[in-house]
Amino acid sequence: MIEALVKIAILLGGLMTAAAYFVLLERRMAAWIQDRVGPNRVGIPLTKIRVLGLGQPLADGVKFITKEEYTPAHVDKRLYVLAPIVILVAALATFAVIPFGSMIPATVFGYRLAEKPIELVVAPGANVGMIYVFALSSIAVYGVILGGWASNNKYSFLGALRSSAQLIAYELPLGLGLLGVVLASGSMDLGVIIGSQASSGIWFAIAQPLGFCVFVVAAFAEAARLPFDLPECEQELVGGYHTEYSGIKLLLFLVAEFLHMIAASFLIVILFLGGWHFWGLTGGSAEIDGWGLAWSGAPWLQGLLRIVVLMTKITLVIVGFMIIRWSWPRFRFDQLMALAWKVMLPLGLINFVAVAMMQQLQAVFTGAMGPSWLMVPIAWGVAVAAWLGITWAAPMIADNRPRRELDPWEIDSQI
Amino acid sequence: MFVDAETIRLLWPEIILIAMASWIYIAGAFQPHRVWWTCFSLAVYGVVAYVLLGTESTMWSAETALVGISGPLRIDFLGFILRCFAVLVGILFTLIGARGSSRQLTSEFLATVMLLVAGLMLVARANDMVLLFVSLEMISIPTYVLLYLGRRDRANSEATIKYFFLSILSSGLFLYGLSFLYGIAGTTTLVGMMGQESVQAAAAGFVQEGGELYQAMAPIALVLLMAGLGFKIAAVPFHFYAPDVYQGCSNANAGLLAVAPKIAGVVAILRLLVVAMPWAADIGWQLAIVLAVLTMTIGNVCALWQTNLRRLMAYSSIAHAGYMLIGISVAFAFHEGTSASGGIGATLFYLLVYACASLGTFAVLVALGSKESEVSGLNELAGLAGQRPALAAALAVFMFSLAGIPPLAGFWGKLTLFSSAVNTATATADNASFAAWFTLLAVAGALNAAIAAAYYLRVVAKMYFRPAQGDLPANGGLGAQAAVVVCVVLVLGLGLFPRIAVQVTHLAEAAVAPVDPGSLSAAAAPLPRLAGDVQGSDDASWDR
């Protein structure tokens, strides 16, 4: 109980702070990519000291809270207030099953912290972990739809519709990309999935490159990041489903969006990039065994190292998110839908069938089920073949001219 | 209850049908061509018939007609007959309906019919509640699609939606009843239900721990299941959709509605209620008698003043459901201790006869219409005998058969049904209530047959004794005409040589219900198994 509460406090505090500072990082990155300076003025209050603009998130937060808390007259009041709460709670609750490290030994520097090693996840051993994550990502759709509907504004309504269509369309490739991982590791517990990658040393991004691509694209779409940020495309829908929101309620939406991105990076790293594992650095056992650090006699160092590795990977993925945001144009909605249904869904299916078949063949011939280096070249062959196939079919898939502009034979031959 | 190679072998006809249906869906989406795909699907039915006769070759002689269990399937003669008949229905319906569908959607029509036929074949086979429910849905869902494919106007859409909503409601009731049944029996296997201790407690009325509860639950399960299946056969409290839906949809689809759900519903009632729930028979036969009398009477009386042909046929199909319920009540009563059997055989025989005549009637109506205009009013048939003597004669044959005029199949059907009721009444003279009820039932049936003759003969009189009002297009296509010929041959054949059919249906009854009512609690010899090791002995204990 106490242990869980401490973990929750660490996670909630860490996540809210991280979201705030990632906003700053994003603005600085944007400035860097566009050859500007970015927010660099806010420093320590009441002094003239600027610390790289590190005070900016704090100032933003204060600003949001002191803004007018305002509910327009034309909205459905209850749903209007409920929407940001739902979306933030759903975004936060996702982290209950996501590990933010491996373990801390029970005894550190002679202080006895707990009876047994502390697993760095709020709900350890959640064997339905991924199902839980999926369920909450579906609840996020409710938040969006509620917000758009309650606002009683055409921009909001359109944004919510588009957003829900996008989120549910990309939930399929997300699930299919994950299916290969579940099949290879035999569990939906995120900790077990990391353990399976660590013990074999084969990250699933290496073993299933196709599944990795599908999952990453779908995760971008689920987090509504560019190039998939149609839900709130500022230029067309002036903010989409949160057009009518302001002040602290808007802040909740924005924080939830950042949390979605952070959760997506956590999932990408944990499912496909080995989680806390790094070759020759952290050891492959799920337990803290002091591997490679026996000379120091400090298993806590290993636990710390794993946290550092995980956080480094996640930061790199988030930076990747941001670089992509500031260098890619937005998809048109029909292209977005075509990508989900006509490219990602078949690719996900191909990945699933390929993984299942390789595993079954391996089981028949060698009797072993888990991932092995033998599969890697085949998997990359499948990925390249699938890529070539999509490239070949792309003109037919991307053809979205209106029907009246097509010849009859074109309608007939169109995919 | 494990699936093994033998189970798969026995399912080959269904597997072929489903695989080919998938193929027609996909390939037909790329290459729509009506005649080509129609011929293809007829060829598939031919192959399926061949495979069916091959896989069930043991059924060809009475000695080897084993009753066996393989996985969730039950292999017996009843299933065999119905599977053959399902393929025949598939062929006939393909012939009748294919021309009416648009070029773009022909492949959908054909493949959906295939799925429906596969569902019918599975219902005939099911020995498991789950399989039974799924295969009933495999009939219902294609039916929704077919109804929608029939025509594209408001009346048809309304009929489709009406049927859809009521049908899912009935599926829900049925499923709810199944859950009660599972709660009582503790197994999903149908023949296994009798061997369950809890069921025996309910049957023998033991007042032991839980026994009263089971006794209280049995009627609930029975009524819910009867409600769900009563919708499928259009029995009375659930009949009200039929006239509207038949009237709204096309002639071919009305023919489908009159036949496919009815076969499935009757078979499910026989398998599930009569055979698997003999411990509920004391309520069952009363329920069936009440429903039978109500259904017959309401159907026939309402049919008297119909002027729309499909509406008329809808009430006729309700009335015939009532006749079939006579056989079902007799079969229930058999479990209740009467010595007279014959209910299941008579029901089955009547079902086949009714299906042939009904499908034939709608085939004639399709043949008389064209793609643009359908025959629907009774008056449109006036003077048909002069214009289209052959089709008029065929329609007259079907009407006479449905009315039960002697040399035709319908007569023998009614005769076997009523005689089974009379047998039950006389064989149990010591039980006064039995005798009274079943005598009443037989009398009601006979009276209803007389009422029914009025409106069937009205159709015939219209055709032969009224002057023609206009010219019917009679452009329904070769397929519908072929279907008419097949149905006429069947009705005449069953009418002139009823002995074979009666024997066959009695064989089916012998296979399906060899239940000695006295030996409910006695340990019985397990079923002969076809092959493979059937796990779980409690599933296979079955009183012979």
């Binding site: 909630l12 007018e68 207030v81 709900a123 829900s164 939906m188 602290i248 909605f333 075509a338 249904w341 | -």
Partner: protein, 128 residues
């Protein structure tokens, strides 16, 4: 079970308290100045024409149905995916051959693909 559910429940409660607390802080601290123009729905400065909740494109409905169909079918694959590799799964079940179940799953995937190809060809995924 308790060790799994309790922390998750605690987490959700804490997150909800955080969200509601932020909202409450905002409404307590922020100023309140209502004007008639502020009450109007924002439509780029134009006067709003009618209620926003009107009929909308049926294609959204189509997406929802396609999602339901395929998502439910994909969900059926998860139990198998876990049981197939997990040592406590299929391997431990007596009488169920891993290969047979694998073949059944492949049949399932083929049927899924049939539906997918059919829907694609019929233009369900065409957004125009």
């Amino acid at each position: 079970m308790e060790t799994l559910v309790l922390p998750v429940l605690l987490f959700v409660v804490c997150a909800a308290m955080l969200a509601i607390g932020m909202l409450a802080a905002g409404s307590l601290i922020g100023p309140k100045r209502n004007t008639a123009v502020k009450e109007m729905p924002y439509e780029s400065g134009m006067d709003p024409a009618h209620d926003a909740r009107r009929r909308f494109d049926v294609r959204f409905h189509l997406v929802a149905i396609a999602f339901l169909i395929f998502d439910v079918e994909v969900l059926f694959l998860y139990p198998w995916a876990v049981a197939n590799t997990n040592p406590a799964g299929l391997a431990a079940q007596v009488g169920l051959s891993q290969l047979v179940v694998f073949c059944e799953v492949m049949v399932f995937v083929v049927l899924l693909t049939v539906g997918f190809v059919y829907a694609w060809r019929k233009g369900v995924f065409q957004w125009r």
